[in-house]
Symmetry: C2
DNA sequence: ACAATAGTGTCTGTGAGACAGTATCGA
DNA sequence: TCGATACTGTCTCACAGACACTATTGT
């Protein structure tokens, strides 16, 4: 920018909204909070925080994930910025959406501040139903879901939804949920093979053949 | 968000920075302006505008493209938001970067406000050299260039860099520039064939076989 | 032995890559 | 006819998809 006549422009509130995705009971879930006050009282909303004056966007996202979901060191990436004028009926707020992925074992959102109102919501059910969601958050969730579905195909992003060690049937299920279709075992394994390495462990106790545990291959 | 204690948070300036890409002389170029004042006086910067209080992000981008580049109705998409704390030495500014693509024939940036200081800069040269660029704009350009290079492979985004009617050798050249490698004619044509339709026209006047003009197939 | 799920071998078709060939203009 | 570029036919090979087969647990 050449001329910084910023005096002509009112400053704006900037918030980070968080899409914390996980897989629970063979379904994609997202962390949401029930709003206690108007506007949109008693409706579901995404957790979020305002961006501090001395805080980068990534730092705000990290803080939000910690405060609202009680999580540290999880994968996240910036998604998109939403800036419709009336997306919040009270005031102008720009929302920079971030998407975070966490394996269900690691998720313990009762450690966050939202201990009462936070809960996991089935993403498909939410998007396919007419359930109203606070602000433009339904649109944001849809955007995130689409990005996630796309990235599964050409990245290794799905690994962030399983633990350090995982079985291939398990990982395949995650792919199937995100892609919304079933896959052939053999083909899936061939495709995933170069990305993983065996561990010496396997599951046990189930009334069928145990499945070997794998971990992600390092340094690729 | 549940609690909107926004009083605790200072509001921020939000700007839209524009990456207007085009192809000129068989090279990817980007529209930049020479800064007249400090900070970064006499250095190159991206054109940009502040986001108005009653203006969506997309509208601000559209306005910027019109004011700074003199262009209407061209393709653009939101790229990424940059929010490092000290990216502008004077004040905290969040920048939402937008990428726009325009065929060189359509580009007439002297119609914009930056008639003096605006010019096209070779992207590869800029990124490979040590040339300093104002603010974090070099990083932003690199991000945009990468997005563009990626999207060429799995979208039809390259069509926005040629006119309504184009020859296949021409379109292929655009792909080659963006991908940074040469392609086989026959393979390229097979891949592009379903997306285009012949016109009745062809080039002429050159001292070799003329090439047919195509246009994009509608409704796909 | 059987149910249930884990895991493998292999055929097929599609599509990208490589290359050699033919076509059509101006001079 | 020749130089130059436009355009096409076809072989090969890698890889995704489909499916049938074998392996290993608990009961």
């Amino acid at each position: 920018m050449d001329s910084y006549d910023s005096s002509l422009y009112e400053k704006l509130s900037v918030a980070v909204d968080l899409l914390v995705f996980t897989i629970e009971n063979d379904a994609l879930k997202i962390l949401m909070v029930e709003r206690g006050e108007d506007p949109f009282a008693n409706m579901l909303a995404l957790p979020g925080v305002f961006v501090g004056i001395d805080e980068t966007l990534d730092d705000a996202a990290k803080r939000g994930i910690s405060e609202e979901a009680g999580l540290e060191d999880i994968y996240f990436e910036q998604l998109y910025s939403f800036g419709d004028v009336r997306r919040d009926p009270r005031m102008r707020i720009i929302s920079v959406a971030y998407m975070a992925l966490v394996p269900i074992e690691k998720l313990n959102f009762h450690a966050g501040k939202r201990t009462v109102s936070a809960r996991l919501v089935d993403v498909c059910t939410l998007l396919e139903s007419d359930t109203e969601v606070a602000f433009d958050h339904k649109k944001i969730i849809e955007y995130g879901r689409n990005r996630l579905a796309n990235k599964v195909e050409y990245t290794t992003i799905a690994f962030h939804l399983v633990g350090e060690e995982f079985t291939l049937p398990n990982l395949q299920k995650v792919y199937e949920i995100l892609l919304g279709k079933s896959l052939y075992k053999a083909n899936f394994r061939k495709k995933i093979a170069p990305l993983i390495e065996e561990t010496e462990f396997a599951t046990s106790g189930e009334k069928h053949r145990p499945s070997r545990l794998y971990r992600r291959k390092q340094g690729i």
